[in-house]
Symmetry: C2
Subunit: 164 residues, 2 copies
DNA sequence: ACGATATATAGGATATTTTCCTGTTTTTGG
DNA sequence: CCAAAAACAGGAAAATATCCTATATATCGT
């Protein structure tokens, strides 16, 4: 096992994802510790990959990205090289913000952010010309009710999935 | 109009969302400017809400959140107070990371992160006991192919949707 | 239960960075 | 083409990150 996360780590993670611009002293005060352990733990969790990218969330509309689509994809092809081409296409296109392979009759779901419906169509045409896809349904978002990167962190007693 | 974003602003935004821990001097060098204009522009874009939360992206699996569902919801009710109750339920539940109101025959889509399938069922039971919902389809993610908060920022010439 | 070793913690010193100020250059409008 | 305004570059003081040292806490074998 790489790193075991304890209650203090979880408090630090919660504070960090809430506001990563806080100083170590502020975080230390919030989590009830001092800056050295907070700093050491952050460094270790960064190295372990528990803490990933430090970023800033931007207003998509202000950047002219006014349309958001969820795309449900069914395919008949499940060969290795088809899948590889498909994955590569998704990963290189910056308008694809999320892509998941699913269980069930729908094979993939994408979240795509584009300036407008025309830009979505361009994306769609480019995608289906690049890889063969059986069936596509696009769901257009009318309203972003909620959008957060804040993961729910259990700060209570540690509930462990498997007994020790 | 609140703030007009120019090419330098876009470069700064791109640098920031790529790595928000960079110093002003580093960003200034990358975007080809000096720290004062970079700092002023960041401050203004923060105030204008173009730049939102500064955060850190965490590894959900490392935190024990191993299951991700996309939930497609159809409802027959479209009255104001039903909708308000529904929105409130979504916004207060931390396992709901995204919620969109859609155009078309599916009314809402949610993205839900939970420790496991049992936790999803608890969430689902709690939700349908709180608000009346006509039809629900849960899509289980088997693999997160891509997940990014990096919005595509056109750093070329400024393409404007409406003519001046 | 006790002591020896390992580990975590608190607070302080230095290097870096943010924040703001001052003088200069560039752009804009008449 | 000149005046007014805006943006810019670099520098100084305050705040912060990073690392060090000493102290406290926990762990393990006997």
């Amino acid at each position: 096992m790489s790193v075991q996360i304890d209650a203090l780590d979880r408090k630090i993670l919660a504070a960090l994802q809430e506001d990563a611009s806080q100083s170590l002293d502020e975080i230390a005060k919030v989590v009830g510790s001092s800056k050295t352990p907070v700093w050491t733990r952050i460094r270790k969790m960064r190295e372990a990959g528990i803490i990933g990218r430090q970023t800033v969330l931007l207003d998509a509309e202000a950047l002219g990205l006014e349309a958001c689509f969820f795309v449900l994809i069914r395919t008949s092809e499940h060969e290795a090289d088809w899948q590889q081409k498909f994955l590569h296409a998704l990963q290189t296109r910056p308008e694809v913000l999320e892509a998941h392979r699913l269980a069930g009759d729908i094979d993939y779901i994408l979240k795509v952010r584009v300036p407008n419906a025309r830009a979505y169509d361009r994306f769609y045409q480019a995608l289906i010309s690049e890889v063969r896809i059986h069936n596509v349904t696009a769901l257009l978002s009318m309203e972003e009710i909620k959008s957060t990167t804040l993961l729910p962190i259990e700060d209570g007693a540690q509930e462990n999935g498997n007994a020790p």
